[in-house]
Symmetry: C2
Subunit: 500 residues, 2 copies
């Protein structure tokens, strides 16, 4: 068995190396590649992905996995976890016919091009046909993977392994009941938080330099990572010892670059702090998008938008931007960065309304995939839901149904993981606070090391060994993902800010 | 035949894509990778190289090449050239036993680590054993490739396909006869060129910005390439539409960053201007290191250190650095950047003594490989040759035998291509001047577009279709590589500067 495990590991290592190479090329494509490189880069990425896929779906790997499944390793061991996780990936990879994989790749690549044009021209009709094809291909993918309860389960499982649509419905239902009236109550008192102070001229280099301070303070290791600029901020890694994040800095608004740095920094901490023994294996990396997002949202929102964080950093920020901030108190600034206001664009939404954007997408995706909604009728359905949940009707489709890249790139079943991340961040953090009750006081003194140590021990070091639900049970003792800790956090925070 | 060619091209395209990925990872390693990424990166590169090698040496490619060899394509056609060049690469790749390839990779990687330590500690003894092994492995490689006249031919052929040691000996012999006495004559008049003006404080950003002007002026396309900083400047490409160069900027000396930019820019022009039909094929890219170096040296030295270049740029340079240059005339500056002085370090040597550094290495390499010289006796032999040719004895081995990275990385047979590049630059450029006689006047007016157009037509567009010797015949009509144009250029230029 030892020998078979060694053979399996050697084969998997090569596949991981090819995937890491793909990531390096992807990183470069978004960060430094000159425009001329695009066509060749697409071909290089396609070859890497094809060669890695072919090596992975080889019969021999299936035989090794079957032989090793009976080896009797304990469930929690690296060995049993590897066999379990690779078997899951392997079965998924084998289930997609090669012709379908090629068709997906072509269509999604084309979809992104067409979407870019459609969004620029605010012209949904231009995007409609390819989106219909993308919906159809996603149905084919779900059928190929197979599912028990509903088709959406098969797609969701790609991003949130083991999670069921019914489970998401339960959690989102609980959230919706509380968040929708909360937003309505806040809207009536919108004047209590004024964010005009954030809309001034903030030097880009100073913003970058300021952001590096909390990034280091939360534990991002610059010997094993770096930050660059890109149009869309993201986190990517090629090793636990080489984790890259990006941010975007906009001169006319302050905290967006910082919060982007904290958000991606949270993702990066998860990747940098896997157990070194998992390096380069299929167990390395975050276990699901929801758990990943729990880490990024924790640092961006729960910590980064907290009063204690700014008790420490606001005086320093005032030194960076004395002219802009001299007449703004800590309390005014805290309210400004936590202002809640219904708006059209998800990625610019505040912490509370953000989830309403997700509910809408989650519902529309299912309507499309279950063929209850025609693609042609999607903009109308989008706008109706926006009006119902946020009281707004987008003036055009660029501010509505065309705003996100996900569908154009073929990703359906992805959106709910954002709100699952919000929910998980508090379900985990409630436990952190039980173990380290004076965390907020630590933050107010500029001490940010404790959460990393805690999350490293409870979550990061395990990599992909346990699913999100398994982690919830292990870390919190709860039987399942629960909305209450997140709702309690939101209500407490915004009741105070808005005097509800 | 069309179908077989299509199958061959599809297979080769995948291999080229994997090699391009390897180049992207190599670029990132030298330019942006955080230190922690090194171990994983070495593994990723090793996998890419192994997978590409295995795909390339497949029997099927040999069968396709043999079938296509009889197809009767004209010699100059892309098809015949592809079959000819790939056959050469394929036979070479197949001749090295897999075990030897793995041994080379391990030894060269270890060699570079040990050399880095040995150079830092000025301790040749530390490097001696691994160098002996590297020499032995190079002998094994040469034997595996096979050769007619001498072992060195097989190694030289890796970098300069088709070139023979006897040919290099002839050219170097002619150079030596003239250059050694020239250097001696200059040494006696060393005071005629003072370069102290170059050793001042030059702001790094201003140096970078200044360098971008001639880089663009000579035709480097920033839509299809970029420049970054690295410890050792280099050029690399992932496509004819994505060619990257690097430079290093040192605050306390002016022209080295600029000349490095022009040098790498010359390499980059060759890569950016291949015929688009060769993109992604085995015919893309420079045909040999010597021809590549002819392009970099042309722009760095023949143009970049010419009086006409500075007639245009010196007034602008004075505007960039008014304090530093206000008391220095164009003529003084021209002499400063062309100062000839024997020195220990090859990469810092002037245009004339540079070749003497190459002769020494070329001779010592052959002595080692023919086992006329023991590795233990190498430092002594190095120092004796330095004394004989440049009148200097290195005070330690870091300034002597340990200065270059090449041998530590296994590259023997590489050094002569630097001087072949110098020679070829003038043999080609003499022809350029016949076709465009007013080139120097164009330079003095800031017009630098003509050489690129000429070289693109004569050399760049052909990629690897023709060898260096074939290009010499096609471009200049000469039967072989000739030292005279280069010697004439050197003598004319330095006779004037030093009043010989």
């Amino acid at each position: 068995m030892e020998e078979k495990l060694a053979i399996l590991n050697a084969k998997l290592k090569e596949i991981k190396n090819l995937q890491a190479a793909e990531s390096v090329l992807g990183w470069d494509q978004q960060v430094f590649m000159p425009p001329g490189g695009a066509v060749a880069r697409a071909e290089q990425l396609s070859t890497l992905s094809k060669v890695a896929h072919e090596l992975f779906i080889a019969d021999e790997i299936g035989v090794l996995l079957s032989d090793l499944a009976g080896a009797g390793f304990p469930y929690d061991s690296d060995e049993a976890s590897l066999i379990r996780v690779v078997r899951r990936d392997y079965d998924k990879a084998r289930k997609l016919p090669t012709a379908l994989v090629a068709e997906l790749s072509r269509t999604f690549s084309l979809g992104q091009q067409i979407w870019t044009q459609a969004r620029a021209n605010k012209d949904f009709a231009h995007f409609q046909d390819i989106l219909a094809k993308i919906v159809d291909l996603n149905i084919q993918v779900a059928e190929a993977y197979g599912y028990e309860d509903c088709l959406y389960d098969a797609l969701l499982d790609q991003f949130e392994p083991g999670m069921k649509t019914a489970e998401v419905n339960r959690v989102f239902g609980e959230l919706k009941v509380e968040l929708v009236p909360l937003v309505q109550a806040i809207v009536e008192r919108v004047g209590r938080a004024d964010d005009s102070v954030l809309k001034q001229d903030f030097d880009e280099t100073a913003q970058w330099d300021f952001g590096m301070m909390p990034l280091k303070a939360i534990g991002f290791d610059l010997e094993r990572g770096r930050q660059d600029k890109s149009v869309h901020p993201f986190t990517i890694n090629f090793s636990i010892n080489d984790v890259r994040i990006t941010t975007r800095v906009s001169r006319d608004t302050f905290p967006s670059a910082l919060f982007s740095t904290l958000h991606e920094g949270g993702h990066a901490l998860y990747e940098q702090n896997g157990d070194p023994s998992l390096e380069g294996s299929f167990l390395a990396g975050g276990t699901s998008l929801g758990v990943h997002e729990s880490q990024s949202r924790l640092w961006e929102n729960v910590v980064g938008r907290s009063r204690e964080f700014w008790q420490f950093y606001y005086p320093q920020l005032q030194e960076f931007f004395p002219t802009q901030l001299q007449d703004t108190s800590l309390n005014q600034f805290y309210r400004a960065i936590n202002r809640v206001e219904p708006s059209f664009i998800r990625v610019e939404a505040d912490e509370v309304t953000y989830n309403l954007h997700i509910f809408l997408r989650f519902e529309l995706e299912q309507d499309l995939l279950e063929q209850r909604l025609k693609v042609a009728d999607l903009p109308e359905a989008w706008n109706a839901k926006m009006q119902a949940s946020l009281g707004l009707t987008p003036p055009d489709d660029a501010l509505g149904v065309l705003q996100d890249i996900h569908w154009s790139g073929g990703m359906m079943g992805y959106f709910p993981t954002y709100t699952l991340g919000n929910v998980l961040s508090l379900q985990f953090y409630q436990q952190t606070l039980q173990d380290v009750p004076d965390l907020p006081e630590q933050f107010s003194r500029g001490e940010f090391g404790a959460p990393l140590a805690w999350f490293k021990d409870k979550i990061h070091r395990h990599g992909r060994k346990f699913t999100a639900n398994e982690l919830v049970r292990r870390v919190t003792g709860a039987a399942r993902i629960e909305a209450q800790p997140y709702l309690a956090y939101i209500k407490r925070k915004y009741t105070e800010i808005y005097g509800l």
